[in-house]
Symmetry: C2
Subunit: 335 residues, 2 copies
DNA sequence: CTGAAAGCGCTTACAG
DNA sequence: CTGAAAGCGCTTACAG
């Protein structure tokens, strides 16, 4: 590989001069500038980014840990973060844990090795030691969507899950439903707890009793939504409306619904957290809570760069608004 | 930051010994091993990954260039690639060009700086100089899904777009359609050309004439599909069946269809390349060609690692099978 | 099994 | 404006 020394030799200058020409900033005489440029051209020189990172002390990389990049919400967050990164001359290193906490730990360990300048976390498990080390090592970190309870000082960008859930469920109640169910998320996940709390609050406020068996915890993935919905639908008495933790679980739930020939919304009303391009075209169109995923990602990026630039961001909690899309998957109860 | 020298000092050994303990491989006496481990613990030492990359001459990173990670096909490819990467102790650096060729060039330039050990390309434009430089610099590269015409020697992982398209269109013809349209992809994209060719071949074989105005080129993104479908539907005489270049365009097409109260499949039959979780639930369920996106990504990873391990991969062309899902969006023509 | 030392390929005060 | 040189923090022959 041709190195900066080869270029310097060919141009008859020092490596310092080559670096100055290539990186700009410091002035270099036109004469030498041209000689360097020509040598670069002739030798087809490309600088070594790793070496540059080492001496500069920064990599120009933002780390993003996600559970599954194929989740549409996650992908949009990634896009928002990436666009913000590009604006600052950065790139994003996305790692999917696939809900595997060991893989998550490996990714965090790798981030802690300063392979990235800052980290955004949109991960599933409570994480634990991995994040703590990241922070002890002084790597700017931001949580996206949710944050483990014991890390309150780390900034967070999110929506208000609790009130959005409460509002959606109140919508169902206003329609006349009195027997509601929920396909919930994993118990350890803060947003799962919040959405469930919103669900319960709305029911409690309306004086409704929630039957324990109507609340099923679905592990993430469509399969989890399918299983949970099967359990709900196979109850001796079905609830007349179900609230789903997110769009992935909702898709699984739809499979269960179809399999049992349950009609939506005649037999069952359905509302879900997280929207999708195709929800308006589903039979029937799915009523959903939209989160501004792209903006969440962008906001996380802004926080990270503010921190990189020396700003104090501890304790920041950015809350972005949700939108409720009323479509065709809800109706008044049939009984 | 605590460095390997601090650890060496604290443990009373050389930095070489610390490295040996931490990286394994070379044997170290139990006594020193323990001292090192204790020092690491006490100092909360985390090695610097960038420095390690520089001296090892490898970063443990695979670069993946995509147009849009939010495209479900792309996301699945990324997952397949990533899982393969993890199997080899690697991570994936995903960069979205967002269909911007300047951004694409920047990403390729960054990859060429050896910030990654190998590269998988799933990008939109013909690319040009960026890829050429990558290859001149000896960075193992693989194309995914499509490859610019002049880079035939670089390995490629793909499906057979032409015959899959032909088969899907023949299905429409067998249903009795004689006036077909297509929402095509950007003219410069090889897969767009191939799917269009498949469409034309099927029509020609059946002796059908394709009206030029029934073939619209949609720029990528749902908006492009919407516009293209609008043009088709606003023709004085509508075709009775339309074949869509991919799922994203199909979603835009559905918007146009809905807006005009066209009924699928009664007024119009629709088939699209690329499947989606939700297509079975759309009204009506969308008939689609599924590509094994995850496997495509995994296969690309295998090729890259084979090449990293010294194997010769030039000229490789891996073709994976598609699956045709007949659902409810096609019927015999109504007229 | 171990350490001194060179080397990876840049960047950047420092002195001129 | 310019170059010699130190330094970024590891890894790895080399000699013992």
């Amino acid at each position: 590989m041709v190195s900066i020394r080869d270029v310097a030799k060919a141009a008859g200058v020092s490596t310092a001069t080559v670096a100055r020409v290539l990186n700009g900033g410091t002035p270099v005489s036109p004469d030498r500038t041209e000689r360097v440029l020509r040598a670069v051209q002739e030798l087809d020189y490309v600088s070594n980014g790793v070496a540059a990172s080492l001496s500069r002390g920064r990599t120009g990389l933002l780390g993003l840990l996600v559970s599954d990049i194929a989740n549409p919400f996650t992908a949009q967050v990634a896009r928002g973060l990436e666009d913000e990164a590009v604006r600052h001359g950065y790139q994003v290193l996305i790692a999917s844990s696939d809900f595997d906490s060991e893989r998550e730990a490996q990714v965090l360990a790798s981030f802690a090795r300063r392979t990235v300048d800052a980290v955004a976390l949109l991960s599933s498990s409570g994480v634990g030691e991995g994040v703590a080390r990241l922070i002890r090592n002084g790597i700017p970190t931001v949580f996206v969507d949710r944050r483990p309870p014991d890390l309150g000082e780390i900034p967070l960008v999110r929506t208000d899950s609790l009130s959005a859930a409460r509002e959606a469920v109140r919508y169902l109640i206003d329609l006349g439903h009195t027997d509601l169910g929920m396909i919930s998320g994993p118990a350890g996940m803060p947003t799962a707890a919040q959405r469930l709390a919103g669900f319960r609050e709305a029911c409690a406020t309306a004086g409704l009793v929630v039957r324990p068996k109507c609340v099923r915890e679905g592990f993430l993935g469509t399969q989890g939504g399918y299983t949970a919905m099967c359990e709900v639908l196979d109850l001796p008495v079905r609830p007349t409306a179900v609230f789903s933790f997110n769009n992935v679980l909702a898709i699984g739930a739809l499979e269960a619904v179809r399999e049992r020939d349950v009609r939506i919304p005649a037999d069952l009303s359905l509302v879900t957290f997280d929207d999708t391009d195709l929800f308006p075209f589903v039979d029937p169109p799915i009523t959903a809570i939209e989160q501004p995923a792209y903006d969440i990602g962008a906001e996380a990026g802004k926080l990270l760069f503010a921190r990189i630039d020396g700003a104090e961001t501890a304790g920041t909690d950015v809350v972005l608004p949700t939108r409720f899309h009323v479509r065709g998957s809800c109706d008044r109860p049939g009984r």
